[in-house]
Subunit: 156 residues, 2 copies
Amino acid sequence: MAAELDKTDFKILKLLQENGRITNLLLSQEIGLSPAPTLERVRKLEMSGYIKSYHALVDEEKLGLGIKTFIQVQLDFHKNNTIQIFLDEVNQIKEVTECHHVTGQADFLLKVYVNDIKSYERLIMDKISKISVVKTFQTMMIMSTTKKEPIVPLEY
Amino acid sequence: MAAELDKTDFKILKLLQENGRITNLLLSQEIGLSPAPTLERVRKLEMSGYIKSYHALVDEEKLGLGIKTFIQVQLDFHKNNTIQIFLDEVNQIKEVTECHHVTGQADFLLKVYVNDIKSYERLIMDKISKISVVKTFQTMMIMSTTKKEPIVPLEY
DNA sequence: AACTTTTTTAGAATAAAATTTGGTAATTAA
DNA sequence: TTAATTACCAAATTTTATTCTAAAAAAGTT
């Protein structure tokens, strides 16, 4: 397998990011190849891990997930496996959809989806603040999201 | 069009979030219906906007996007259309893949992808800090991401 | 409770797309 | 230059999506 991707591969990645359900036929026409080698390239991109997976994007608000927040978490590093303890706990909370280890005042940035304020309170009271290594946390409620590209900016 | 979704619809949403390229045949087997009504339900979910779109998820690191950050931005509200000015500028920056209007000390939280530190510096110097209404900003570099569900937590 | 209307479904037929196959041109390595 | 590898296309085959029809189920009405 060639290590490098060529322009055609980048085009494929761009198109599949934009429309994950484009047919192989259409895709082949867009990139200027016939269906067979197009499919072969897509399979290679999947096998080699450049394409990790495919997902439907749903409308969260329509589904009643009214509250979206980011939570900045600061940890208490008394124990030497503080981070692992935190991650083990956080990974079990289904409302937490993202968990990033970051630089700056906070140690972690979490993204959280809940139905309403009551659910948010329960999440904070019963789950986040119960994690032993959590020192402090600050909530950023998302009032609106004006940009959310499901697409990563690629060259070419 | 019925306003409410039933259990079968939620199952479909869950499965399509997990695998956006599942065939209609497989999907129908998973939810226990025949292909025809399954497809009809999927189309309804698409038409009514519960499903917004489909996307391939790519491996950012393999593609050379080595730097991912969140930037907290505080605005200077001297003008009365401060927010609109900010949004207009930010929407033109392709490295900014997310833009959230949030509560707390910061006004906006941005997610940014760049190739390397040099690119990051250019982004900051030439773009972010050039926006007239930006008062201050703070960077959180993402060192690692331990959880990133492309899936929204649904009931049922 | 019987009837009507509406909705949902399965199954068959058709259309479209994916996938495989075989062979050829182009590129790379020896 | 030759051999080997790779990438490609065109056509055949298989699989899947889609449409259509009619039956069943559910909901509402008299």
